[in-house]
């Protein structure tokens, strides 16, 4: 009932996001937590498993026994393999799986039986099997036994071949993984030796170093990190590239100092049985002394994650191979049924009905026929009653007419879809050069659903916009810094971007090959497209790379500082403020604190390109004396501090563990330095954190020594002058090694880069301190006391640090303006201060509003000085909260809220998230195509509306209906009022046809949406939204997003498409008929759950308008053609029954009969389904309305089905009766009669396709000619060589004879022409009368294809250079010049 919930906060380092609900997973988890809390209220007695750090040993042991297990109560015991208890180990580990994985379905031996077994799960094959078995019943036997088996055998072989191929690929991949080497402790050699992954067993000790991939789920027993932490990257599991912390198992006996000795490890581990819950792990470790230590999810290193930032770790394997959580989380490919397929099923049912009718006709006919006969010579079994004979004939006819059921259609459709996917996958227009990524087609069988989308639900951030957060402007101390230069820079961006991407690709390619995706091992049944799988895998590995580069893209990095702000900031660094008046010291401290907050109030991980995430570049020596700054900070108590300049370079470079040790040395150093002046509180606080000292002490001692001996550096006058002259940012970049910031959200990265532009850069991070470079001060170590991470309830995050200069405890908070503004104090102390504060607040609010109008994402930055007393008080309570067992979440929340109050507003930032290229055009095209576009975003209303204007979802003269109601009743009333005010749906459609007429757009806010989605308001909301041209949902949660999608999909019964890029869109993507993931900046969750993954929103244009349209029309046409073909051919046999006493006789050689569908006419429809183009691509793009025309499909198909069947009946009548009349009464033999019929049927079927297909390329021609050729070739050769084979219908000499006679050709010509005449005529008349736009452009396509190619070329060229300013400037309404 209640389990694993508090694991969450430890596993996830929640992303700090300004959007309220962009952390989708968090959101859901919070919801779950909420639910569970409710449950807990009801049942408070339920045991609750504590976090290991806080739980007392005995307590945890008792609790461990009463673990609330989801599955069975069984547990597994793990002992060290080479430890002291060899016997026990053997006994316990017998049942554990080894680490070798086998994802193949079959082995060499089991392939045939297993595969057959699998295949006979399909209805189609069962049908074939049924026919085969039926044919074994002597009384109903229609053909030779072996002949009826051919279709089944062919289908089985084709599928088996495909399966075998896939399985072989899986096998090779498994082998590759199994052969990976890792260092495993060997009992004999008493050392770690290299072993393959597959030889790792439960209980083995595995040693991993940085950037290695974890081979199995193991408990972390040793980490080179002094605090017992280890970082892992779970990109291979869930696509998240942020680092996650893992902790050592607490209270290990011989933990301190040296690495652990596996042979003496005699703790017993007991943990739950393998399960697939990634965020849960429970168990305990029993020491020899009997003490039990609780094990927790944060002790577990998961298979296929990567070790980062940690030198060496050692762990004991608890789950191996298929029992690892990663492997248990493998899920198969998505299988969705397309609408067409569903409709096809009804068509097939009609075919079944038709078949039954035909068979019944034959059965009754046979009975009647027999009734009138009295023992004729040709009647063999004279005794059977007519009724029984009729019954037998029924079954015989089912065998004879079997092809009427287009079972092979399913196989064909699968193949056709593969072909379509292949072309979509290869479309160069869907290729993104910057990311080097193509479209990924993850769902293989809903291609044609793309062709009749009616509703499009789009996320905003990262989907419409780039999600490349770029610092645009800021306001500090109530003063706005417009950053004009910066704004101008943002206008021209595309050109260098590819370059920068390329560069970072090169930089990071070293670690690109290492990624292993475990999710890949389940290969889709359909994956014949060979690259698909690998590409996906590559995509995953590339992802981490491109993501890094994206976050650190040049645009984001190179913030051009505002000159005014630079000037003010320079006052800090240069004594002689110079020409301009120096700002007042309060403002200056605000500015400094502002940038400090930007730099440190985040969870950004710093790494340098040369050694990713591992070592920090050397600190620059500060060159300036601090005297002036001291003066600046006079109002605060300022403690003398020693910059860490003189850390001797040799020492820094010396040890391999350089970075951490040095950093800690510094941390220690500052602490000791600060202690000297004898601040008691400082001592106290450091006592409160004994771990800090313990982990720093080891290395810190020596470093501290040197630090103390250091002298203060001399001021460097040259630097200050230089900086003043040149501005701050550029030169540092070029000089030193670039730092790579890896942030969880792009906003954070943007802010850090912005701070860096003002020379206030974050240079290193460890758990207890941050290394920050401040202008004029050089590198400072900031003691990090706490991080209060972001959550969507608080909508803010805070860091508690000890200020490097003042030594005071500072709280820096950044968060959404809506919450922060209420938490700021209106000033305390003097009147003047109060006035200043309220002034700042007022001004800032004004700036905030204007930022929001401009579509900027705003954040407020605040600080708070906490006195030592306050801090220690808070700390105590906070520690209690952290270690509490029940209500931990709530207590932590309260604790955070306690601290985050009475904040001093420093300023606000505005971050630009630019629209992706061609978004307005794409949205316009979508609307032109009759697709209703809804935007569902978590953003503020203002931002959302602004973006909607920018992307032309909103037109300037649109009526904006804003629904944000305080209560449900008012919401109901308001919706009703709006509904009445709007013209009804029928009217509005006619209105929207008129081009620029104003239409209404509904903007609805989160809370109102929640009410609107409730049962009683649903229909009202839907009706209202139907009357609007577009709907904007702001402040919506992921759950609401999926509810909206589901509501529209189910209630309106329309085809929906959802597109999103982040984890918060996953539920929406899954709810929609077609889910599209944007492989953008936010991890791979959206992509993983999507059906198609593109890299740009604009790709939707071509994907839907062209590929969707094509796929749909191709498949629909092919299906119809297939049904036509079957009906037409089968009816020939049926008509013959009228002339053979309904006895089930056929006038064709049975081989030809079977092969006719299987071989002679099978390929052309496939080609038709893959290659046909009813309208050229550029026409479809230019005239989106064509999309709509084709997707009013329901009527189209159902009446086309009957029309097709009717035509098939006509054609078969002609094809049968023309030869019949031509040959009746003559001495024609059975096969001689069938020969012209077959030949003309073939010609009719092939030429029918020529009439139906819109394009004929050389491939079509080749296939058609080959098909016809194969028939005639086969028939001729067969009639020459088959002397006594194929007994009842021996073809010897028949066709050779007839094909030498002119009458054969005369009959064929007459039949073919007559059969095709009506269709040709009707088609021509139809086309002439309803000459469609597409047809006309076909002409132009033919005439100007040359021209078209040139245009394509130009378009491609310009594509990479389009420069746009998508985000509106001051006046969003006047934006039409974007297009």
């Amino acid at each position: 009932m209640c389990f694993a919930l508090q694991d969450v906060d430890i596993v996830k380092v929640p992303g700090w996001r300004p959007e309220v609900c962009c952390v989708g997973e968090m959101e859901r988890l919070h919801w779950v937590q909420h639910r569970v809390r409710q449950l807990l209220v009801v049942d408070p007695g339920q045991g609750w498993y504590a976090s290991p750090a806080a739980a007392l040993p005995n307590k945890s042991s008792t609790e461990a026994h009463s673990l609330p297990h989801r599955g069975s109560g069984k547990r597994r015991k793990v002992l060290a393999r080479h430890g002291p208890h060899q016997q026990d180990y053997k006994a316990t580990s017998k049942s554990f799986k080894s680490n070798a994985i086998r994802t193949t379905k079959y082995s060499l031996l089991t392939f045939i039986p297993m595969n057959l077994f699998q295949q006979f799960h399909r209805i189609a094959n069962l049908y074939f099997l049924f026919l085969v078995l039926l044919n074994w019943v002597p009384v109903v036997e229609a053909f030779q036994k072996e002949i009826t088996m051919i279709p089944l055998l062919v289908v089985l072989t084709v599928i088996a071949f495909k399966d075998a191929l896939e399985d072989y690929r899986r096998y090779r991949f498994d082998k590759k993984i199994n052969k990976n080497v890792v260092q495993v402790f060997c009992g004999k050699q008493k050392a770690y030796i290299q072993q393959c992954w597959q030889d790792v067993h439960v209980g083995d000790f595995v040693r991993l170093s940085c950037n290695e991939i974890i081979p199995a789920d193991m408990l972390l027993l040793y980490s080179s990190d002094p605090r017992g932490l280890c970082y892992i990257e779970t990109a291979n599991l869930d696509g998240e590239t942020n680092l996650k912390q893992r902790q050592l198992v607490t209270d290990l006996p011989a933990q301190q100092g040296s690495e652990l000795t596996p042979e003496s490890f005699d703790c017993r581990i007991e943990c739950e049985n393998p399960n697939d819950d990634l965020s849960r792990f429970r168990g305990y470790m029993e020491h020899p002394s009997g003490v039990r230590v609780g094990l927790h999810n944060s002790n577990l290193l998961l298979r296929s994650c990567t070790i980062r930032n940690t030198e060496t770790v050692v762990g004991i394997v608890v789950y191996a191979g298929h029992e690892t959580k990663a492997m248990m989380n493998n899920s198969g490919p998505r299988y969705k049924r397309s609408r067409l397929e569903k409709r096809l099923n009804t068509d097939v049912l009609w075919c079944v009905l038709l078949l039954i009718i035909m068979c019944l006709t034959a059965a009754i006919g046979h009975g009647l026929w027999l009734n009138n006969l009295k023992d004729p010579v040709f009647q063999i079994e004279g005794e059977t009653s007519p009724a029984l004979a009729g019954f037998y004939v029924f079954w015989t006819m089912i065998i004879v007419l079997q092809v009427l059921i287009p079972i092979s259609l399913y196989v064909s459709i699968e193949i056709v879809k593969l072909g379509q996917i292949y072309f979509i996958h290869n479309d160069i227009a869907l290729y993104n050069q910057q990311l080097d990524s193509r479209i990924q087609c993850r769902a293989l069988n809903i291609t044609e659903d793309l062709g009749h989308i009616q509703y499009l639900f789009s996320d905003k951030t990262g989907t419409l916009t780039e999600n490349k957060m770029v610092f645009r402007r800021c306001s500090i101390y109530g003063v706005e810094y417009p950053h004009e230069e910066n704004g101008r820079r943002l206008e021209v961006y595309e050109a260098e971007q590819s370059e920068s991407a390329a560069r970072s690709v090169t930089l990071r390619s070293g670690c690109s090959g290492r990624s292993l995706s475990c999710a890949r091992s389940s290969v889709s049944l359909h994956t014949l497209t060979a690259e698909q799988e690998e590409e996906e895998e590559e995509q995953l590995s590339n992802h981490s790379r491109t993501r890094t580069s994206a976050f650190c893209s040049r645009v984001a990095k190179e913030v051009i500082p505002d000159p005014e702000l630079v000037r003010k900031l320079n006052c800090l660094s240069s004594v002689d403020g110079g020409s301009s008046a120096p700002p007042c010291s309060l403002e200056l401290t605000h500015i400094t604190d502002f940038f400090l907050a930007l730099a440190i109030c985040n969870s950004v991980v710093v790494s340098s390109p040369s050694q990713p995430r591992h070592e920090v570049p050397e600190a620059r020596t500060p060159l300036k004396s601090l005297e002036e700054i001291k003066l600046m900070f006079q109002p605060f108590s300022f403690s003398p501090f020693s910059p860490l300049s003189a850390l001797s370079p040799p020492q820094a470079r010396g040890s391999p563990r350089g970075f951490t040790s040095r950093l800690f040395a510094r941390a220690k150093n500052t602490t000791t330095q600060r202690e000297e002046p004898g601040q008691e509180s400082n001592l106290e606080s450091s006592k409160l954190q004994p771990e800090v000292d313990s982990c720093c002490r080891a290395e810190g001692g020596a470093a501290g020594q040197t630090g103390e001996d250091m002298e203060e550096p001399k001021p460097g006058p040259d630097w200050s002058r230089q900086a003043a002259a040149e501005g701050l940012s550029r030169q540092t970049d070029s000089e030193e090694e670039e730092l790579l910031y890896e942030a969880e959200s792009p906003d954070e990265a943007a802010l850090v880069h912005a701070a860096q532009a003002y020379r206030c850069s974050l240079r290193g991070r460890c758990a207890q301190s941050l290394l920050v470079e401040l202008p004029g001060l050089g590198s400072l170590s900031v003691q990090l006391l706490h991080i209060l991470p972001f959550d969507s309830d608080r909508k803010r995050m805070s860091v508690v640090v000890r200020h490097p200069l003042s030594g005071r405890v500072m709280v820096y908070t950044k968060g959404a303006d809506s919450v922060i503004m209420d938490l700021t104090h209106t000033g305390k102390g003097t009147e003047g201060e109060q006035e200043i504060c309220s002034h700042i607040k007022e001004q800032t609010q004004k700036h905030l509003d204007s930022y929001a109008r401009d579509g900027l994402r705003t954040l407020c930055i605040t600080k708070k000085v906490v006195t030592e007393e306050e801090y220690s008080l808070w700390l105590k309570e906070h520690l209690v909260a952290e270690s509490s067992i029940e209500n931990r979440e709530e207590l932590l929340l309260e604790s955070a809220q306690r601290l985050e109050s009475n904040l001093t507003l420093l300023g606000t930032t505005g971050i630009v998230d630019r629209l992706q290229e061609q978004v307005p055009e794409t949205i316009e095209a979508m609307q032109g195509a009759g697709i209703k576009v809804w935007v569902l975003t978590g953003d503020k209303k203002e931002t959302a509306i602004n973006i909607a204007y920018a992307c032309k979802l909103l037109r300037p003269n649109d009526k904006l209906l804003t629904a944000s109601c305080p209560s449900k009743d008012s919401c109901a009333a308001y919706l009703e009022e709006l509904r009445l005010a709007l013209p009804s749906a029928e009217d509005s459609t006619t209105v929207t046809d008129g081009e620029q007429s104003s239409s209404s757009v509904l903007v609805i806010e989160g809370q109102t949406l929640a009410w609107a989605l409730q049962e009683d308001l649903r229909s009202l909301f839907l009706e209202l939204s139907c009357r609007c041209r577009a709907v904007l949902c702001c402040r919506s949660t992921p759950l609401q997003k999926s509810q909206v999608v589901r509501l529209v999909r189910d209630q309106l019964g329309v085809m929906t498409l959802a597109v999103g890029d982040g984890a918060n869109d996953v539920s929406m993507i899954q709810a929609a008929d077609v889910g599209i993931g944007i492989s953008g900046q936010e991890g791979m969750q959206a992509v993983m759950s999507s059906d198609f993954a593109v890299s740009r929103f604009k790709h939707l244009g071509k994907l839907l308008l062209v590929h969707g349209h094509w796929c749909y029309s191709r498949l629909a046409n092919m299906t119809l053609y297939f049904i036509y073909k079957n009906v037409m051919f089968v009816n020939l046999l049926f008509w013959y029954q009228f002339f053979c006493g309904f006895s089930g006789s056929v006038m064709t050689n049975s081989w030809v009969l079977i092969l006719f569908n299987l071989l002679f006419t099978s390929v052309p429809p496939l080609i038709y389904g893959v290659l046909d183009r009813d309208t050229p691509a550029h026409t479809l793009l230019a005239r989106p309305a064509l999309y709509q025309a084709s997707h009013t499909s329901k009527v189209y198909v159902s009446y086309m089905f009957w029309f097709t069947v009717l035509d098939a009946f006509y054609q078969s009548l002609v094809c049968f009766f023309m030869p019949y009349f031509a040959l009746s009464g003559s001495d024609v033999g059975l096969l001689s009669f069938g020969s012209p019929i077959n030949a003309s049927a073939l010609l009719i079927i092939l030429l029918h396709q020529v009439i139906e297909s819109h394009t004929l390329t050389w491939i079509h021609c080749l296939v058609l000619v080959l098909s016809a050729g194969s028939y005639f070739g086969f028939v001729l050769v067969f009639s020459l060589l088959c002397v006594s084979c194929s007994p009842p219908t021996n073809p010897t000499g028949v066709d050779t004879l007839h094909m030498a006679q002119p009458i054969f050709y005369l009959i064929c010509a007459l039949t073919t022409v007559t059969a095709l005449l009506p269709r040709l005529f009707l088609r021509a008349v139809h086309n002439t009368i309803h000459s469609s736009a597409g047809l006309r452009s076909d002409h132009t396509d033919n005439l100007y294809s040359e021209e078209y190619h040139r245009r394509m070329q130009r378009w491609n060229q310009s594509q990479s250079r389009v420069n746009r300013l998508p985000v509106s400037s001051q006046n969003p309404g006047l934006e039409p010049d974007i297009a």
């Binding site: 006493g1141 024609v1228 033919n1342």
Partner: protein, 364 residues
């Protein structure tokens, strides 16, 4: 025109990023095939484009039809029904004595009059009506390997032949229902000279079967003598003579007896004719069958009353298109005319709609 002639490089001037090692760009190849830009012929079927086809078809079909019709009309055909259903019919008595194996042959003679002389070779057919030689079970009831001279099959006929595979524990040769029900009337043709004397017309028994059947498909079992070869087998139940006594001519005896072969090629339709004899033309001056009175002498053996069948004797000349069949010619003419008519309709449609459309803007 060929889209393959321009490649990726000059299209967008893009330089593929290649890092150290083998960084393969994932950019799709810009080939006409992959980008679905293959040069294609797009058959746009409008009235105007289809028009010529209709007229051409009409123009071709009508002459062909006329030719076929004329040819068919030139073929002379004469048919006599000798089933003997009517009491007045000479064969009525014979038809009443239904016996497959009656020891006493029943004969009847039917006089008829040919109104036109038959100039070229005349083909003599026997026709059966309502005889379902295409019945599924009937068609199967044969053993092609046996007929091909296979010795194993000779003694062990295939199961398909049941219940005509064995008789009195001896394998039947040829086995099966088809062979068993072989047509066994004997037809002879006499010309009544204007003087009143009856002249028997010579009927050729060979050349009536397909060459492939006679030489490839049907073979006698190996053996010096047919009688020896068929040792151990028995004749089909309904037969009066064993298979090796079908004809005196060794080249036309046993399985390769042409009457037998013709019978074994099952007819497609329940009313059919089978070639019985050929009356070869001897002399260019005298017609093969002059105008005048004839008598058909029938040894009436074959019972058809049980299935209400009819038996006919047909005399026909043939042309390159086979026997007399006016249908094909008429069909060609009518289809050709329809094509022509439709062509005219299309022309009208084209002038009505096509022109309007060209100037009209498409709002759909």
């Amino acid at each position: 025109m060929m889209a393959t002639s321009y490649n990726a490089k000059d299209e967008d001037g893009h330089i593929t990023v290649s890092g150290p090692g083998t960084m393969r760009s994932k950019k799709p190849e810009n080939t006409a095939f992959k980008q679905q830009r293959l040069p294609a012929w797009q058959p746009i079927l409008t009235a105007w484009t289809v028009l010529p086809a209709f007229f051409i078809i009409g123009l071709i079909f009508i002459p062909i039809g006329i030719g076929l019709f004329v040819t068919s009309n030139n073929i002379k055909e004469f048919e006599v029904d000798y089933t003997g259903v009517d009491v007045s019919s000479p064969c009525f008595n014979c038809s009443q004595n239904y016996m497959w194996n009656s020891s006493r042959p029943c004969t009847c003679s039917i006089p008829f009059y040919l109104e036109q002389p038959y100039q070229s070779d005349v083909f003599m057919y026997y026709g059966l009506s309502n005889f379902y030689q295409n019945h599924r079970r009937y068609v199967k009831s044969r053993d092609d390997s046996q007929l091909n001279g296979d010795l194993v099959s000779l003694t062990k006929p295939s199961k398909e032949c049941e219940p005509y595979a064995t008789n009195e524990n001896k394998p039947i040769a040829p086995c099966g229902a088809i062979a068993n029900s072989m047509f066994n009337d004997t037809l002879e043709l006499f010309y009544s000279d204007p003087n009143g004397t009856l002249i028997q017309i010579p009927l050729s028994t060979t050349g009536i079967a397909w060459w492939t059947d006679k030489h490839v498909k049907f073979r006698n079992p190996a053996g010096s003598n047919l009688t020896v070869a068929f040792q151990g087998t028995t004749k089909p139940v309904n037969w009066r003579r064993p298979v090796y006594e079908l004809d005196a001519d060794p080249e036309n005896n046993g399985f390769i007896n042409e009457d037998f072969i013709v019978w074994m090629r099952t007819a497609a339709l329940p009313t059919f004719r089978k070639l019985y004899r050929i009356i070869n033309k001897n002399n260019n001056m005298i017609p093969t069958l002059p105008q005048g009175n004839y008598t058909l002498e029938v040894v009436y053996n074959y019972p058809v009353r049980s299935f209400e069948g009819r038996k006919r004797m047909i005399l026909s000349t043939i042309s390159w298109m086979g026997g007399k069949n006016p249908f094909l010619g008429l069909a060609y003419i009518s289809v050709g005319s329809v094509c022509f008519f439709l062509g005219v309709v299309l022309l009208l449609i084209h002038y009505r709609c096509g022109n309007q459309n060209n100037s009209q803007d498409i709002s759909n």
